[in-house]
Symmetry: C2
Subunit: 218 residues, 2 copies
Amino acid sequence: MPTPGEILNLFPFFDETGLGSFIGSVTKIPAGACAFMEGDYSIHVAFIAKGALRVVKTGESGREIVLYKVLPGESCILQLSSVLSGVGYPATAIVEHDVEAIMVPVERFKQSINESQFLRNFVYGSFTKRIAWMMSLIEEVAFKRMDVRLIELLLSRTSPEQPELNMTHERIALELGTAREVISRLLKNLEHDALVELARGKVTIINRNGLDAILPDR
Amino acid sequence: MPTPGEILNLFPFFDETGLGSFIGSVTKIPAGACAFMEGDYSIHVAFIAKGALRVVKTGESGREIVLYKVLPGESCILQLSSVLSGVGYPATAIVEHDVEAIMVPVERFKQSINESQFLRNFVYGSFTKRIAWMMSLIEEVAFKRMDVRLIELLLSRTSPEQPELNMTHERIALELGTAREVISRLLKNLEHDALVELARGKVTIINRNGLDAILPDR
DNA sequence: CAGGAAAAGTGACTTTGTCACTGACTCTGA
DNA sequence: TCAGAGTCAGTGACAAAGTCACTTTTCCTG
């Protein structure tokens, strides 16, 4: 359970907005739960204090792609956007790690945003960050090769000290918006080149530099 | 040249925000010009009164994809976002049809947005609209087949009365974020099936229902 | 009307996505 | 302890899309 101090660290505008009274009431949602479904209307705005949300778009084929994640200190812009303009939530949000969040009722939030420039700046900042993120996602999906995207994911989620990634091929495929078979094939190639080691539900990086070398120059 | 009345129709919040004085000063930018380059910092916020902007992301390969268009009555959220949080503009904006725009200096805009809820609502609305749009773009790019996307473009830009589309294959490819050859091939197939007629720089729809029938049910 | 630029066509090849499987691992409860 | 039932991964064949390196066609324009 985060202390009020921790929460104020994450959301410094909270005490200037008259929202301070909500700091005490933390809502918990367990991993795996679905925080929002496509089309939902929210009655609260959630400020994440702990855990992580995964925001996902599902194509009709059932294939998924992860749009972005919401981490502590953040709020979900899709929810902000949905609340601020009364439109249904345009994607699905799944709890990735147990979430603790401060829920502010919509009306209260709308009032505060009219009063507090700090809160507005927080909201603008959230929008900006996500928009930039989504644009680079579009670029990635439209232009980058799958092997490059896979390697980038592998490298970004592991480190020389912690070279193991505990994800199934299926899960990686969902993150990248592709099919499981594709990931299996690519990983198999990497294993063949002695860059990674595969096990059920696990990928171990055994040659970071080798992987890095495959990426286009930079 | 749009009259003040027309401008107030497009941007009704203008006279309540103290921005009315800018209505007179319309800036023109000719088609083909580059309104913003990736990385730029704006000193104005543009409210489009006439014409159209095309906002484009370019991959390192040189391939492009059109993120969205800015039409009269709108403002470019990337610019809003860039201005409101002091980050460089994350894409390129090209003038598609001669633009006439009202340019409000950044400082003035920031002041107004603190004062006017109408302006804020306009901004939130712009964000919401674009975000929803970009999300469906991600879905399209990640999941939809190219032929479907092409046909959707053909149908949406023509009508039974006006069945001709004056675009080169190159241009269509840029809109959809793919390669010219792919579009040429797909169009060739459609021509072979007697659904369209091709000419240099022009596509003529000769069987709308036939095209429509190819799209997944709905 | 020649010559050059822009637009479109082509074929060979690679990468990615899809389908329909099979096989391997792991857990749970009888 | 071992028998299914899931879950996870591998495979081969094929279709769709992207890339490369051209050639051919069309349209200006001087």
